[in-house]
């Protein structure tokens, strides 16, 4: 559906569902699940190569003709490390796209806003397409946009928590004032969360745990695909106004025809 395509840094994506590749029980299930979602953008992480153990050949399972890769900088603690990670990712994968995530605290994985802003500036100047993962902070998201971010990725809830749009009120502000695509990342646990994000005008969502850790990741991948398409279509179609009063409004004529006739 052309009306629903999304453009980031001049690249058109036909799916508004971005996928993480972590936590899958096997590479085969990951590949099947990605296919079921219809995604065109998938994240990968970087890690130190082990020189003793077996090779981890993730790329063998990712068809680069179908999926654009979005390497993340998970594991870095500051902007300096993030720049090195992005440069390594560009060398390793041949892409300038980077999901910038700087979370020095391994317990809650909370993104560091100051280092993220610094790294966004530095990476944008170096020609990277920067998608920073941040708190749902409207001020920060505007600053990132001004610093050259290609999109912003505010969190819905803590990573892996499956709690949904807990930052909703702030996401609404971010969406209302952003000039770059807004991708809700982290915490979306159910297709209904993804649908709600798209309904409120988010440009895309990034999902990993909710699909990878489902009993049937392929079925859940399809469920998320439908939810994202549904949510976007609802947004584009213009949701009817929500009543703020505790009243019902009839959708049918209220003529009491059973008693009116011959009464």
């Amino acid at each position: 559906m052309n009306s629903s395509s999304l453009t980031i840094a001049g690249v058109t994506l036909n799916s508004r569902l971005f996928l993480g590749t972590g936590k899958y029980s096997s590479a085969k299930i990951m590949a099947e699940s990605l296919a079921a979602t219809g995604t065109e953008l998938v994240t990968v992480a970087l890690r130190r190569v082990r020189t003793d153990g077996a090779a981890d050949d993730l790329l063998a399972h990712l068809d680069r003709r179908k999926y654009r890769l979005l390497p993340n900088t998970s594991g870095v603690r500051d902007s300096k490390e993030a720049v090195l990670a992005a440069e390594l990712a560009r060398e390793a994968l041949g892409t300038e796209w980077v999901k910038l995530e700087i979370h020095p605290d391994p317990k809650y994985l909370m993104p560091d806003p100051i280092e993220t802003l610094r790294a966004t500036e530095a990476l944008a100047k170096r020609g990277f397409v920067v998608l920073p993962y941040v708190h749902a902070d409207p001020v920060l998201c505007k600053q990132l946009e001004e610093a050259g971010a290609a999109a912003v990725m505010p969190l819905g809830a803590p990573i892996g928590s499956n709690r949904g749009l807990e930052s909703r009120a702030f996401l609404e502000i971010i969406i209302a004032q952003s000039n770059v695509p807004v991708v809700i990342d982290a915490g979306l646990g159910a297709p209904s969360h993804a649908a709600a994000a798209l309904e409120m005008g988010a440009d895309a969502v990034l999902v990993n745990t909710a699909i990878a850790a489902a009993s049937d990741p392929v079925g859940m991948g399809r469920a998320f695909r439908l939810a994202v398409e549904s949510g976007r279509l609802a947004f584009e179609s213009g949701l009817a106004a929500r009543s703020t009063k505790p009243l019902a409004h009839a959708t049918s004529p209220l003529t009491a025809f059973l008693t009116e006739v011959g009464a």
């Binding site: 972590g22 992480a45 130190r48 190569v49 050949d57 060398e91």
Partner: protein, 74 residues
């Protein structure tokens, strides 16, 4: 200091590794079985080494080499 027959120690992902000197980055990666692996990247002392330059880059004793690879992640 490295002449033929000497050994040279570098740190590869913080692990000490010995190579017969002189050795290039490409030679060292080959010995480690990494030179043909896809989706890897290398930095020495925090500077990324492009693949096309591996064959020319001689290693010096004590250098810190970081080798990363793409893996699953969100």
């Amino acid at each position: 200091m490295s002449t033929a027959g000497d050994q040279l120690e570098v740190l590869v992902n913080d692990q000490p590794r010995l190579f017969a000197a002189p050795v290039t980055l490409l030679g060292a990666l080959r010995e480690l079985g990494l030179s043909e692996r896809r989706g890897i990247a290398v930095a020495i002392g925090g500077e990324v080494m492009s693949r096309s330059g591996w064959a020319e880059r001689s290693l010096r004793s004590g250098e810190r080499i970081l080798v990363i690879q793409a893996t699953q992640g969100g």
